[in-house]
Subunit: 537 residues, 2 copies
């Protein structure tokens, strides 16, 4: 045995489980009087925020919640949602944040599958949850937010009464082991039942650090909640902002007027959101706009920001960063990092660069493009397409009660993202398509993203999505779905001609459909729905 | 068993040992063409830096170095020293950086106690190492730096020839377990033989993250090496700067002209150093000074910066941060964090605030002031004095081959710092004295630091230190040792009167001795030597 292994084991003095719960202890200690949370007229300092979290933990514990139990929550971006992100993990319990756009059937599936012992419900969403409640009944706590019209009270107790009964000095405890589950998030699931992604304390801690490092969060940061907290725990910003000692600005709805108002009034420095958030801001009615007090960092993911979106955002004073990740990777796994010279690039080159998903975040070990059959890395030549694979400490524990899906996802020691990508010679990854979104026409692969990028450059196009349409001769051909900008006009022929002038003819869509696009609650266009439409035509 | 523990174990896809070796892999991948290291006319990009590290690891491996072996290095802040910080841990071996001011006897003790299998020696220090080499001989590699007159070649091979024989594609491997030792640092040891502090990969990784977060390191950061890398691995900045993708600017000697030149020419953004570094800059001859291109962040530790030092540094364009830590805590453990309003404070109030050691760094779990007998926390009232205790993941594994010292240091689940401190109501720690530096006069505790703070405010005083002097009547009385500023004059009577006007008379020193102060290689005043002098008088 090496001399370094003799009498040098772990002790309570030098080894503590990594958990984002620690961030609350530290910021409450250091910044007791700084504003931690803003919501409408409500303000909680870090001391008050910590006390509310302790009370909630204590009240849940008194109700029988403990280690390994699931606590569900159905709420928009409110203080209660943030509080649950600390109180539930403090007990060793697991927080399951439910997508607020789900219907009763989907909610019912999640409550049953997660074996939830309690659910906290914002009363705006009470009706759907009420229909979903299982037998025997579980603990239901009603959240009554003064900022919204209230739905019915369906629980046994109101949130404020519930936490009033909790101990304000309940200890902020760490898990026994950093590998313990901290959160459960259900993927939107384009087919069949959703999968429950289990996050661990270690990864939550490290991804929060990675976010704070990558975006330069500091005690002066003011973070606006334009990203749903139910979406991978708000990409772990629920914890990262607290780590930095910054201020959380809550927001129930993504609408331009309250966003511009919050930025101007609270001095927002950072925010995140799906591309739809950026579109909403760019196309905001003039009367809702207010000048930005300084450059605001906005991180976006889920799809590459088209050049028009980057230009529009920068013109307003935002600095856009493109991220990529999945629920399985605690949100951000790669980031299209700034490189010297990027600021001076012409917009088209810059947006082409920024369309890349980029490089591994600081705490992810590695992002690679591999052949999923042989599990070997493909050349970093910008053209060899393979599956984007990820590995490191910011990857989930696995899928709840689904060992087969877990094994498949981790086959060969890497997490299989399901996205098809190339690795550029500079080490930046660029996703060409979801494996299932690729269009195979006459044996040739056509990237739906490549066509969408051309469509987004058309002056009349606000949003676009391309899917495969079954074709007797070619097997599949691309079909485009397009939403025009308010007041803009364009015919299908115009748009087909625009595409044919800018890409190989076999790639250009032959069919264009106009109208609003179906979207998930996180702003992702629902391609499975569009594929259905293309099939029915 | 909870549903969250079923089929959700660690896999290579979702669990990787935390090690700062990962930072090199990532930055070499993302920033291959960015300058990683500057030394005189030498420049290494991140790709070149990584290649040199791989070659060194490969050459050491070929020489028989492997997991758990100690590799010593005696070198100032050069590229080779940085390379050793990656190459040695890549092999699972342990880097022992030797203080370059040690004599042959101390070096010999370290080489023997650490069971070093190899030593890399900068030829400036060859003579002392040669005298210290044990029998049977170990592998000795000579580093010949063109920036300094060379001492004798005492090894079997020159560093550049050694790494030229190494494989440029040697894999950058992680340790089997993040709890493995990464580095060994010997404390300066005021009595008896020094103790070998064993650092682990997990703590090195996390403290580097904490430094990057606290000081806002980014890819644009340029870090000047005014702190010795042999001192707690440069407070883990050896790894933190690489994590951020910043540039390391090497420096063999702390002298004003090359420091001001490096700042001006390379656009230095961050640096660290003992208070002596700040003094050197403040008292720099006018012809060596050059204007700073922008505000330069400088972190200092080892002693609180006196108000005159803060004012002098700020006048030159530096922003000073006060840190506290020990070799046992990977360097920085607490930081006197900025608080709103600090910038606007009058200088005296500001320097009084900045004299505090502050709050736990983001990755240390907790800093507390406790009664070491009962292990209970003392009130945070700014007056109850107890021992500063620390716990968390950035605390050492323990002392090498010294289980008794390790047990004592970790008694009760906390690392005992040996410093006497109070906790202010705002949660900031302030050290009043080393346990052994307190003066007990007529049964009253007198803080030597309190007297020193008053002495430093005297316009003629450049440096000051106070220790206990044996006294028949009082037991002990304070004795001051003072160095005057160049050209300044003051008598012992002047200085005694200055102190009596500013503190309780029983605290004021009665005896003043003038002359240069004995210092450790890291710039700390050697109080044990002064205590000897006070005893002999």
């Amino acid at each position: 045995m090496s001399i370094y292994e003799q009498n040098l084991g772990r002790t309570p003095a030098n080894h503590v489980p990594l958990s984002p719960v620690s961030f609350l202890t530290r910021s409450a200690g250091i910044y007791p009087n700084r504003v931690a949370v803003i919501h409408g007229e409500r303000r909680y300092t870090y001391a008050q925020f910590a006390e509310r979290c302790r009370r909630l933990a204590s009240a849940l514990q008194s109700a029988g919640i403990g280690k390994g139990d699931t606590v569900a929550i159905m709420a928009p971006n409110t203080p209660e949602m943030l509080e649950a992100h600390y109180a539930v993990p403090m007990l060793g319990a697991v927080l399951c944040s439910i997508n607020t756009r789900l219907d009763a059937a989907a909610i019912g599936f999640i409550l049953a599958h997660s074996e939830a012992k309690a659910v906290l419900v914002d009363r705006e969403f009470a009706t759907a949850v009420q229909q979903a409640l299982p037998e025997p009944p579980l603990l239901v706590v009603d959240i009554a937010d003064a900022l919204t019209p209230l739905g019915p009270a369906i629980g046994t107790i109101d949130y404020e009464s519930f936490i009033a009964g909790g101990d304000p000095n309940h200890p902020i405890e760490l898990p026994d082991d950093e590998w313990q589950a901290i959160a459960l998030g259900y993927t939107s699931g384009t087919t069949g039942n959703p999968k429950g992604v289990v996050a661990h304390h270690r990864g939550a801690y490290l991804n929060a650090c990675a976010n704070a490092l990558t975006f330069g969060l500091s005690p002066k940061s003011v973070y606006l909640w334009t990203l749903p907290m139910f979406h991978c725990n708000g990409w772990t910003y629920t914890w990262a902002v607290t780590l930095a000692g910054g201020t959380h600005v809550c927001l129930r709805r993504v609408e331009p007027a309250p966003i511009f108002a919050a930025i101007a009034e609270h001095g927002v420095t950072h925010m995140c959101g799906a591309p739809v958030v950026l579109s909403i801001l760019i196309h905001a009615p003039p009367e809702t706009r207010r000048p930005l007090p300084h450059t605001v960092q906005i991180a976006t993911g889920g799809a590459a920001p088209p050049s028009a979106v980057i230009a529009g955002m920068e013109a307003m004073g935002f600095a856009v960063t493109h991220l990529y990740g999945l629920t399985e990777t605690f949100g951000p796994a790669t980031v299209c990092l700034w490189q010297p010279g990027l600021d001076e690039m012409p917009l088209d080159d810059k947006s082409a660069f920024m369309a890349r998903q980029g490089v591994a975040t600081p705490m992810l070990q590695e992002a690679a493009v591999m052949d999923p059959e042989t599990m070997t890395k493909l050349p970093a030549d910008g053209t060899s397409m393979g599956e984007l694979m990820l590995r490191g400490n910011t990857v989930m524990k696995g899928y709840l009660k689904n060992p087969t899906a877990t094994e498949d996802a981790f086959a060969g020691g890497w997490f299989h993202s399901g996205d098809l990508a190339v690795m550029h010679p500079d080490g930046y990854v660029e996703i060409k398509d979801r494996a299932k979104d690729i269009i195979i026409s006459g044996g040739e692969n056509i990237s739906s993203l490549e066509i969408e990028e051309v469509l987004y450059k058309h002056p009349a196009v606000m949003e676009a999505a391309v899917v495969a349409r079954p074709d007797e001769k070619w097997g599949e051909t691309p079909q485009a779905f397009v939403t025009l900008k308010p007041g803009a006009e364009a015919t299908a022929e115009d748009i087909v001609a625009w595409c044919r002038a800018r890409m190989a003819h076999f790639k250009a869509p032959r069919h264009i459909a106009f109208g609003p696009l179906p979207k998930t609650s996180t702003g992702k266009i629902q391609k499975f729905e569009l594929r259905e439409r293309a099939r029915r035509r």
